[in-house]
């Protein structure tokens, strides 16, 4: 029943997407207004199909309907409700349902937001592109990754449940949806970019219309990435938060190009420059989300997250080829119209700083892409597999991150076109003072070492620049001094600085020790005393757990554990973390007692300022939300612009008929 219903919705989604895309494109080419209009109905049906497949799968999971193949893979009688809901995105086929549903939601939001521009061919093409993308994902669900395949199971069968690591922490309920809201969200600006290229209307109008969509997608992606590293830190028990794993890199790549775009787009809005570049960045960002999905879903590269599956890989690769080659072809075709008017006047100006920003983010993305795919290039050449790890990414990424911090500190002070020395010294004085202050403070509390000190100094500098901007804006505009793109952006900067400082401190001043403790024994690590009180054990239907009670500094008791899930033989070590503003204490039960002495192996990791990283992520999310609220001046501009756009669209339509 659920199988049939789910497959029915899948077929509806595929049919509606294909018919909508083909009909829409044909209507636009032949100027058939009725046909173009009908696309909207198909698009609504795609939303219905997306919500339908999602709902049916949730019902099937809740009912433990093992006749649905996906439920038999990731469902189990004993999975608690929250993790059973999250099971939908715990494996490949289900994650495509989530993808298709979110795409449907974005499509619906587009229809509502642009209902007045429904006749505009640019919007029409954007809808067609959205439908092509949704046809691809519904096609995956109908073909190689069908989650609704009916299967026969014996009575009393209970599935294995999701991967044990995915039923260990509440963050699994939030990290994937946030990430997908980001990935899928980039489809919207991409579809407008393609629409602009096809219609030849490559001016700034479509940018203004989609910039908030881009920003929202970027915000979700940022938040999703931060939640993902938090999950990794809290659950995996390896003591770190970022491993340069291909899946992590796959999320960082579109983030980097997306970040470059939201900065360089301002240059285009202000000065009309960097048009080809901006279009390329949008196309690259969307392509990289598909490439990342391919890399991690096809088994081409090794990854802890990879859900490898034969049929999906080739389909994703073909789709990546289509997306990139069509984008590049269109940009080449419209190259003559994309030529930027104007040039950068001075190397010390806001636009030059944005340009430098783009060079750095582009270089960062290139470094990561190369590191992720280099093993494949090497294998093609040499036949052996090579692993590129942390040293490569750390040694190349760190200097780039430092330069980005430097830019973040200085760029907000730069005016457009050209800066004078007096102006700069005036604007940079307070932030520079904050930077020096941060370094002095760090030295005073015992921080040493060149690189972390530079990071703290630049962090203080950048935070000073952002706060200065916010203070000035809020003096001028009251509470509106905290909203709008420029001011919200400054809040985002503060968040990213918190993350940078958190990474610098927690990596540079990390203490990591393996100790053996007998019951009742105490040991001092860093400034803390750890006492091993006793061993405990409990079990329920889905897992058994052995935990050690560890008292920290004679007060709090923490319980790092080793769990074994019924579905999977491998024991999973679950850390116990005491998070604080200045320091995290991270405990891992490394060895359970295996002889009569009762000695345990305990790994103690102390990470100063680790919590700044998660706090920074929340500040970035808040900042992005503030940036989405229109500032006072922009609100009027936008209203005026929309009127003029509608007028010009009507005019265009009239002349072309």
């Amino acid at each position: 029943m659920n199988s049939a219903l789910g497959f029915g919705f899948t077929a509806l989604g595929l049919t509606a997407s294909v018919l909508g895309a083909v009909g829409g494109a044909y209507g636009l080419i032949t100027h058939n207004r009725a046909l173009t209009k009908s696309v909207r109905q198909w698009a609504w049906l795609v939303l219905v199909a997306g919500l339908g497949t999602f709902t049916v799968m949730q019902i099937a999971l809740a009912q433990r309907d093992y006749s649905v193949s996906y439920v038999s893979k990731v469902g189990s009688d004993t999975t608690p409700t929250l993790f059973n809901i999250a099971a939908l995105w715990s494996a490949l086929e289900g994650s495509i349902i989530l993808w298709a549903m979110i795409l449907g939601l974005y499509l619906a939001a587009m229809l509502i937001k642009f209902r007045k521009e429904a006749d505009d061919p640019l919007f029409g093409w954007a809808l067609v592109v959205m439908l092509v993308v949704s046809a691809f994902f519904f096609g995956l669900m109908a073909g190689p990754a069908n989650p609704f395949t009916p299967v026969e199971v014996a009575a009393g069968f209970s599935g294995p449940g999701p991967n044990p690591l995915l039923q260990n922490h509440i963050l699994v309920a939030f990290h994937p949806p946030a990430l997908y809201m980001g990935y899928v969200g980039f489809t919207v600006p991409f579809s407008f970019a393609i629409g602009a290229l096809i219609t030849g209307r490559v001016g700034e109008g479509w940018l203004v219309e989609t910039r908030r969509w881009t920003l929202a997608a970027w915000g979700f992606l940022t938040f999703g990435i931060v939640l993902g590293s938090w999950w990794s830190y809290e659950v995996l028990g390896w003591g770190g938060f970022w491993a340069w794993d291909p899946v992590e890199n796959a999320s960082l790549l579109p983030w980097l190009t997306g970040t470059a775009y939201i900065h360089s787009v301002m240059v285009q809005e202000r000065r009309g420059m960097l048009r080809v570049w901006n279009l390329s960045l949008l196309c690259a960002t969307f392509s990289l989300t598909i490439l990342g999905t391919f890399l991690t879903r096809s088994g081409v590269v090794n990854s802890v997250h990879a859900f490898s599956d034969g049929g999906v890989g080739p389909a994703l690769l073909v789709f990546f080829a289509v997306v990139t080659l069509v984008s590049v072809g269109l940009i080449g075709w419209r190259g003559d119209q994309l030529r930027s008017p104007g040039a950068i006047d001075s190397a010390v100006s806001r636009e030059a700083a944005f340009f430098a920003n783009n060079v750095l983010f582009g270089a960062f993305a290139f470094v990561i892409l190369l590191g992720t795919v280099f093993p494949l290039i090497y294998e093609a050449y040499d036949g052996t597999r090579l692993t590129i790890g942390r040293p490569y990414f750390d040694s190349l990424g760190m200097p780039l991150a430092m330069l980005i911090l430097f830019l973040m500190a200085t760029a907000p002070a730069l005016p457009w076109r050209k800066a004078s020395a007096e102006l700069l010294s005036d604007r940079l004085f307070t932030p520079a003072l904050a930077g020096v202050g941060a370094m002095v403070l760090a030295l005073a509390v015992g921080a040493r070492g060149v690189s972390p000190m530079i990071a703290f100094g630049l962090g203080g500098f950048g935070a000073g620049a952002a706060v200065r901007q916010l203070v000035i804006a809020s003096r001028r505009n009251g509470w509106r001094g905290f909203v709008g793109r420029a001011n919200g952006g400054m809040i985002v900067h503060i968040g990213i600085i918190a993350i940078a400082v958190g990474i610098a401190a927690s990596e540079s001043y990390k203490t990591d020790q393996n100790i053996t403790l007998l019951p009742g024994q105490s040991v001092v690590v860093g400034d803390h005393e750890f006492t091993y009180l006793e061993l405990g054990a409990d079990q329920n239907a889905r897992r058994e757990r052995v935990y050690a009670l560890i008292e920290i500094d004679g007060s709090d008791v923490y319980a790092p554990s080793v769990q074994r899930f019924a579905a999977m033989g491998t024991p999973v070590s679950t850390p116990s973390v005491r998070s604080g503003f200045t320091e995290d204490v991270y405990l891992v039960l490394d060895r359970v007692p295996d002889d009569s002495s009762g000695a345990i192996g305990l790994r103690v990791i102390l990470r100063p300022l680790m919590a700044w990283m998660w706090g920074g992520g929340f500040i970035m999310a808040i900042g992005t939300a503030m940036a989405l609220v229109p500032g006072s001046k922009r609100r009027q501009d936008a209203a005026e612009l929309r009127r003029s756009i509608a007028a010009s669209a009507r005019e265009k339509e009239a002349t072309s008929v």
């Binding site: 001016g203 000065r271 080449g332 008017p341 290039i377």
Partner: protein, 190 residues
């Protein structure tokens, strides 16, 4: 979405007003397109190999392995630098593990004769007395460790699985499934 947005652009956006750079854009697009095609071809032909050896440990330094063995002696893998070490994950309840045991016994003997190889077993989800009984019955005197954390470190999800560590402490091979004594001897070189 118009070409001339009031108050936004400072220059008109018509093709004639700009320098002729259409061919530049076309060339750039062509080159980018070719690079992308090459990249896609690479990806298309690189696919599938990763599944052959999902272990990320190969070519890496062997994770720390130390502890008290079944026999009561201390074992530390770092003390075996200069010698090959075969790290074997097993359980008495797993038929392929029982099947590969004679090969391990043979390898232990071979290693003891020429001093080249040390065999080490790590118990995966099993009980101490059962393992002791198993060794009594089937032979073998090499160190046996009980430490569930090691399976995590070696990313072992099912048994048997073995790792061959060279004299420099680098994992050179990962064998999912039962091992053959001859293969190990060949890998080390007689």
């Amino acid at each position: 979405m118009s070409d001339a947005d009031p108050g936004q652009t400072e220059e008109p956006n018509s093709p004639e007003s700009t320098a002729p750079s259409g061919s530049t854009a076309r060339w750039l697009a062509l080159i980018t397109g070719l690079v992308i095609v090459a990249f896609i071809v690479l990806l298309a032909f690189a696919g599938g190999d990763a599944a052959d050896d999902p272990s990320r440990l190969v070519d890496q330094r062997v994770p720390a392995v130390e502890g008290v063995a079944l026999s009561g002696e201390n074992f530390n893998i770092d003390n075996h630098r200069g010698q090959w070490v075969l790290v074997n994950f097993f359980a008495t309840w797993c038929p392929p593990c029982v099947a590969e045991h004679p090969d391990l016994v043979e390898l232990e003997q071979w290693g003891a004769d020429n001093g080249k190889l040390q065999v080490l077993s790590i118990v995966f989800d099993d009980q101490r007395d059962r393992v002791a009984e198993f060794f009594e019955k089937n032979g073998g005197t090499w160190p046996v460790l009980f430490d569930p954390a090691l399976a995590i470190k070696f990313q072992v999800a099912q048994v048997p699985e073995s790792f061959l560590v060279n004299p420099d402490g680098i994992v050179v091979a990962h064998v999912p499934g039962g091992i053959e004594a001859a293969d190990v001897r060949n890998a080390i070189g007689e």
